[in-house]
Amino acid sequence: MGRLGIRRTRLFITVVLMALFTLLITATTNAQTTADIIAKKVSKLQAKATKTKGIIELDSLAFDDVLAKPRNYSMVVLFTAISPEFQCVPCKNFDPEYRLVAAGWSRIPDKSQIFFGILDFKAGQSVFQKFNMNSAPSLLYFPASDSPESSPSFDRYDFGKSGFQAESFANWVNARSGLKIDVQRPFDFLAFSLKIMGFAGTVGLAHFLYTRGGKVIRSKYLWAAVSLFSIFIFISGHMWNQIRHPPYSMPSRDGRPGFIAPGFQNQFGLETQIVAITYAVLCGGAISLMSSIPRIESPSKQRLAVIIWMGVITVMYSVLILFFRAKNPSYPFRLLF
């Protein structure tokens, strides 16, 4: 029993001592090295940021250097492909918004907590591969990490959900970094002047209508035109376009004409317009058959008009059905072709 006790205590003490010692040494050394490394990096970054309105252009090397751990600042990196040959439209759209946020942050004197970097595809292909990104723009947030061996933890900004607005992006960053970045859009004189003119225009129009435009408002032909137009637009699936934002048309491939979208529940902008026009022609034909033909005095002219209009209606209707068959191949009916 006693023997056991002694042995245990001795062991314990030695262990503790060693532990303390090693701890001491490592701590001191670490402190010196990492601390000033970080300090250097931060100052460098700050210098860069101040020069370029808060934006730090990165390439593969700079990226690794900036994101090397440990670091006491967090980093937002925009992976983009701004150069024209990629024709990345969203990249172009989002770029100013991003710069807006960065600028908003760079107004603050001490901007050492967070930095905004841009990595263009041309500059940093290797990084793109490393994060196996095949879509631009994408936006990553790297939080500050004091521990060198922690896994590469980052957070991805979801454009689909949060949208391309600078404000929402700023909120996203604030939520993660706990900072407060406010977006101040530069005053847009064009939009303002446009608003002014629009307002004036409406006022003028209202006044005109109030004074002598009464006839215009009360003319039922105007209203008929308006409502018929809207009806045509609606029944040709315009609201679908409003909500789903399909492409206007697509380059034709495998023989199918490009303006018809594949799939029954899918459509292109051009396609709907064609359909709307077809409807309009057919409807117009019907109207003229019932109201304008009986006004023709000479029998022969009348017969000609009837034949023409009937032909137009039949052809257009067959075209419409053809269209529909293109969307729904199993549709069995046809008129002319």
């Binding site: 029944i235 909500i243 409807c283 006004r295 009348q302 009837v306 419409l320 009916f333």
Partner: protein, 771 residues
Amino acid sequence: MSTESSSTVARVLKPTILILIAIVAISSRLFSIIRFESVIHEFDPWFNYRTTQHLVKNGFYDFWNWFDEKSWYPLGRVVGGTVYPGIMVTSALIHNVLHFFNFPVDIRNVCVFLAPMFSGLTAFSAYLLTKELKDSSAGLLAAAFLGVAPGYISRSVAGSYDNEGIAIFLLVFTFYLWIKAVKTGSAFFGLLTALFYFYMVSAWGGYVFITNLVPLHAFTLLLMGRYSNRLYVSYSTFCAVGTLLSMQIPFVGFQPTRTSEHMAALGVFGLLQLYAFAELVRGYIPPKQFRTLLRGGVVAVAVIASFGLTILSFSGVIAPFTGRFYSLYDTGYAKIHIPIIASVSEHQPTAWTSFFFDLQMLIFLFPAGVYLCFKELKDEHVFIILYSVFASYFAGVMVRLMLTLTPVVCVSAAIAYSTLLDTYLETSEHVLASTKPAIAAAATSAPTVIEATTSDSKATGKKTAAKAAAAAAAAAAAKSTDAEAKAHAKSAASSEKKRFPIFNLDSRLLVILQLTWFLFMFAWHCTYVTSGSYSSPSIVLASRQQDGSQMIIDDFREAYYWLRKNTKEDAKVMSWWDYGYQMAGMANVTTLVDNNTWNNTHIATVGKAMSTSEEVSYKVLRHHDVDYVLILFGGVIGYSGDDINKFLWMIRIAEGVYPNDVKETNFFTPRGEYKVDHDATKTMRESLMYKMSYYRFAELYGSGNAVDHVRNARMPAEGPTLSVLEEAYTTENWLVRIYKVKDLDILGRDLKDSTAFDKGRVRKVSSLKKK
């Protein structure tokens, strides 16, 4: 032909044709029964059916106060206060009447055949409505169109026992009464309108369409300076009585006084009163003072009204628009804010193909009809115009609102069509053109008439309809050879420039025959669409095999029957909300969530249980006393509507409430794809839904070439393992899979260990020693 003979012919023909149309309308909705069987269709109908059974069994008051303990466990659902009781009460009434006369009809058959029966009535009310707008021949055409238009059939085939089945009839009939009231200005018709409006409110949430359209009509008439005592009387009666009545439905309650959807009605009501008062005052004071008085009054009223409204809406007395309704205006709204609404398929926007699919030739005759309404712009035509524009907007935003568009399309298309026929059949202009045309008219009309009158029984589906329609037109035309035609001609002559008859017989023939041909095509189209697309009760699936023979997939009922027979009667079954109604109706088990999506949190909880790892979701399952979990899995037969495809919605809805437990992004691969095969994310592979779907799936194929036929993905050779659930039942085609939730281990081990032990694993030296 002489006056009285033709009129007697017409007097005989009209009812006959109407009856024929009704028969056609009903019989064309019976495809589903002929194909499958007399069964209640997809989802909501099962709830209506269940409640109807309850109503029939326990009487009205018990139904009225029914607290359903078997749904939304453990919250329960106050059924009486959260349903539109119209359809249940209707069918219960029919059932009781039949039984009173000793016709022992099963309530199920009443429910199955309710919608077709009402479609006949709908056709009739379409006739009445159009008769008010043009004449009886157009009415007959409208009836025929509406009787067979796929856009309406889609929701009213035999077995789809849903509110819309009767609501469309009520919609059309209410509008008819309203127009009648406006025309006659009689309080009686206003009252009738209110009564049927009440019926509509009790039947369908779509009554909001009426509450907004009728006031809009009145308002427009005011703007057009068409204020009249007729309008005042009819609208005041309708609005006062109708609002009061509608508040008697518990589900509606005080909404008419509070929510913005109903404000239009009240506002226009107030406006009318003011206007009437002004009119009254005008009669007593000189115009000059009156003008100043009017100005002041208008300004004052406007200020007060706007002020009051803002205060009320800010203080929350007037609720903002409800989500579903709001998503009609701001079309992007639902997608972002209310996934539960956006997830419903019938809330998607409408592509042009759907319009054509549902209305074929009517879709382009419809604007022509609207144009004609503009030409003779009476009050009722104004109504039709408004109806057309707004209905087509709403139909464009939501697929299910094609239903409200279809009637007006049929009506105005009928107007256009019959105008065409009139033009090309009419014989007697003021210039008595040679009798050839008359003969021509007779020639064209007579055969069709004969056909129509004789060919009701033998002909299938719509052919009769088309012929009936043609016959109707022809008959009308034949009749219109005198008085009416004269009147018409006179009005035309007086209203516009000089009109001539169609001189040549050949051009008449060309047009008439062509139009008749269009009618036939329309009929064929309707038959094709109805039989092909709209007649499958989605609880029984039919698929074609390679040899072309039809295979009936009946897995749903198989699974529900298993549940009904093999679980204790108070078993709680968790599933995604789509199947709640069916489970309650067919399996008679307690469900956690169902298609009445009134409690988003509860649904999100289920979503969480489905989309988290076993450990997390086991807590949820235990907490809600879940005994079984039911999922749909189409990977074997390639049924695309299964739960893995709905999974993203579950995740989104769950994330809305439990953002810390569920994250949508974790279910997407770094490349932003939604994968289930080898490169599915860890979160995906650990989620309960994934495990339940693919549990033992690979064994089905063996040697690691399991292929999911929906997402055609090659699955890993070794499938997921389950420890907190055990497979209870899987249907023939693996379409439905039911899992039993295990109890806690009796020895207090966690279930992973106990399952491993049962599989024969021996625990190695545990860490207990090393202390």
